[in-house]
Amino acid sequence: MKPADTVGETLRRHGVSRRGFVKFCTATVTAMALPPWLGAAMAAQLSGAPRPSVVYLSFQECTGCFESFIRSFSPTIESLIFDVISLDYDDTLMAAAGDAAESALSTAMKAHFGDYVLIVDGSIPTGASGACCTAGGRSAEATLREAAKGARVILAVGTCSSFGGIPFADPNPTNAWPVSAIVGDKPIINVSGCPPIPEVITGTLLQFVTTGRIPDLDEHLRPKAFFGNSIHDRCYRRPFFDAGKFAKTFDDEGARNGWCLYELGCKGPTTYNACATLKWNGGTSFPIESGHGCLGCSEPEFWDKGSFYEAQSTAKWGRAGESSRKPLAEFAGAAIAAGAVLGVASAGAGRLRQHKLEKE
């Protein structure tokens, strides 16, 4: 760990030419949909900037976000951790384990107190006094609170750390919470997704490292550069929605023709992410392109918003994942029975009035 190293020095040591470095910056700016002039600014800033220390903490998660992080194409994870940042602690990637790993964490936090970037992956379980997720004998909550004290900014990577994700879903057995519910006095950037797009994670990190500023965020603290548009608005199947052409099942003529998946439960209209533009696996494809509707995984409480396979305009009666049809039938039957009782009673009262009037 050489915190005094600047990015420029590191790159020169690796034999990267200035021309190659500027090309890298331009490609990164393009991938992040930032203004073109920022390419030169990024090159100037990065070449003289010290490599910032990054601490990556994993809590109640599936490691999917980290798997995504290490598959970034632009910038690649190698170029990021060897040239741009100093990844001082990551319990999945680092060779050290046990006391050596914990020692690396405390050393990094002390050496760069107030300056390091804290990346958090996973929700923070607070049930059972934090016993649901511990490392080195400390609960996730205690580790996060301590690490957050010296962080310059916190990147909550993934829907679990951004919004609670699947652990937070009803009935939330571990009493899990997102980072923003635990830490209130530090700037937080949510990079949601289950998992997030690799380039969105690395791009957000790089944007902060380059500019030193928190990017423009939306109401859920997500960078607008990546979460500013709904997937529906940028979806290549959108013209079929406008034309009223919908796939009704996953194997019908409409599905084969690539029509809109709205009626099959696609959550694209209410999901804000860059899947339809950046795509996955180096821009190869994204779920809708592969024939499955969007699950809305980058939105808060996505797991509790009803079935993945019912259109968003439908009623949401049952619990998450349940069809709404049976609960509606039961509910409507009870309401009709109640109405019938009231109707018969009213008619009885009316007949009494009729009888009374006739007698008069």
Binding site: G244, T314, A315, A335, G339, L342
Partner: protein, 220 residues
Amino acid sequence: MDLLSFARGPALKVAMGVFFVGVVWRVLALVLLRIRREHSRPRSSLLRYVSVGLFVTASRSWPHPQFVKRTGAGEALSYSYHMGLFAVVLLFGPHIAFLAGLLGIGAWPGLPSSVITAIAVVTATLFTGVLYRRVTTPVIRMISNFDDYFTWCITMLVMLTGLMTSARWGARYETLLAIHILSVDGLLVWFPFGKLMHAFYIMPSRAINGAILARKGAST
């Protein structure tokens, strides 16, 4: 729980509950009332009452030739916006998904969104024309009450919020969709207690009137 989940979940559930309870209550309370006993001799057979009742249901759906000049335009206006409403409600993709989901049946073919938007704009314009006619025609204005105006307002609110949702106008899609569904929830709650109940009353009342008149031997 976000606004959209509330609108299409608990709020819709309550609204549908009020709708079902209210409609069944009001229909039964009317249907089970005793029909006044006729003491005169029937002028025709039971089969004729029924057939005349059914015939009158259709024939009274348009003014008698004698009144066409006076009320024909108003009725045409009403039929036009009703047809527009039916087209928008029954033939727009997201509405089809909603109704098919409620009924537990497969979705049916719809119209392109652009066509639905055009129909909705025309329908909202015609609906505004209906209000203009109500407030400018002395007799209609005199017999109009809060029920008429409130029913107009809530129906128009549903149309406007639907158009805004379709155009993504003014807010994010999920917010607009939630507001649209909440306006539908409001309409469902109001439905059994206001003029919207004509949807259930209008045809049976025409048929019953026709049958009673046929029994009395009146020309229909």
